[in-house]
């Protein structure tokens, strides 16, 4: 139980990597509030599954692109569980297109969710963590933000922005015993990657010759959220099967 009695917030918790993160945190003893944008039904099913595991969780519908909704989610976690130890910024979208075809709205949608959403959640949590003189933030970035990916100038920019946010904030709040790190997953088997074309070509680029599983990212989140990583801050940990070596 690496995270016994810890309270965590995970954004975008009902699908893909977020869902795996919620379960890994729960299995390590944390109480989790997760946000979702669309499906009340998936959130409900997940809460039932967590109950069966004897875990404690809450779900809240919140659009992290809006500061007020991010704040509402954080208040809910504090009201229900009394504190916030861990924030996992995970909610993200893709709108892949070549730059010449990309609409300004497609640029903004991705930046607003994948970067501004991270800012909103971090801002909504940070004073609570500073008062506690403890806290951990884990930002899910992407290998796209480290090396750049074609047809993803919006996504790569947002994810690189998340890395800047991570490093800057890590320095800013270290005196308050708050750690801020990022994870840069490579290709992971989720809804987000299921429609990728030329998977065989991509596989050749990965030394492990396979996509990662969401659980393989989630385990690293738990590590960074736990005291096992007590001297690590401002880092970007690649979980990519060697893709970006």
């Amino acid at each position: 139980m690496l995270l016994k009695d810890k309270v965590a917030i995970v954004t975008g918790g009902t699908r893909g990597i977020g869902r795996a993160i919620v379960f890994d945190l729960i299995q390590n003893g944390a109480k989790v509030l997760f946000t979702y944008l669309k499906s009340d039904e998936s959130a409900g099913i997940m809460l039932d599954e967590i109950k069966e595991l004897k875990g404690k969780a809450e779900a809240i519908k919140a659009d992290v692109r809006l500061y007020d909704e991010a704040r509402k989610a954080v208040e809910e976690a504090i009201n229900k569980f009394g504190k916030i130890d861990i924030l996992v910024n995970n909610a993200g979208i893709i709108k892949d297109k070549a730059l010449m075809m990309m609409e300004p709205s497609e640029w903004l949608d991705v930046i607003n969710t994948n970067l501004t959403g991270y800012f909103n959640m971090a801002k909504a949590c940070i004073v609570t963590m500073m008062k506690q003189k403890s806290g951990v933030i884990v930002n899910i970035s992407s290998i796209a933000g480290v090396v750049g990916m074609p047809r993803q100038v919006n996504y790569s920019s947002a994810k690189a922005g998340g890395i800047g946010l991570t490093k800057s904030l890590a320095k800013e709040v270290a005196p308050y015993n708050i750690r801020v790190n990022a994870i840069a997953p490579g290709f992971i088997d989720t809804d987000m990657t299921k429609d990728l074309k030329q998977k065989d070509e991509l596989m050749k680029m990965i030394p492990f010759s396979r996509f990662g599983k969401p659980e393989e990212v989630a385990k690293v989140v738990t590590f960074l959220a736990s005291d096992k990583s007590s001297y690590i801050t401002g880092q970007v940990l690649k979980v990519d099967g060697g893709l970006a070596i």
Partner: protein, 84 residues
């Protein structure tokens, strides 16, 4: 709710602020600006807010951080939440 007289409140707040800003209490006049005159940074502002919450067992929402600019504003803020 604790019954706190105005003079006591002012002295206590002055002491809290003096400790955090590491200045002599006498320098904290009602209008002395915490940032420009007394060298406060945003982290110190948060410490002032948190210390007031702790001492008087209050919960002051963080939106009020920007009001921590001088002693008279802090007294006003404390009074507002003490009377709630």
């Amino acid at each position: 709710m604790p019954n706190i007289d105005t003079n006591n409140l002012e002295q206590s707040l002055k002491q809290i602020i003096a400790n955090i800003l590491e200045v002599e209490p006498d320098k904290i006049t009602p209008q002395a600006n915490f940032v420009e005159d007394l060298g406060m940074d945003s982290m110190m502002a948060l410490e002032i807010l948190a210390s007031i919450e702790k001492k008087y067992k209050l919960r002051i929402p963080e939106e009020n951080l920007t009001k921590i600019t001088n002693l008279s504003k802090v007294i006003e803020l404390a009074n507002k939440f003490l009377s709630k």
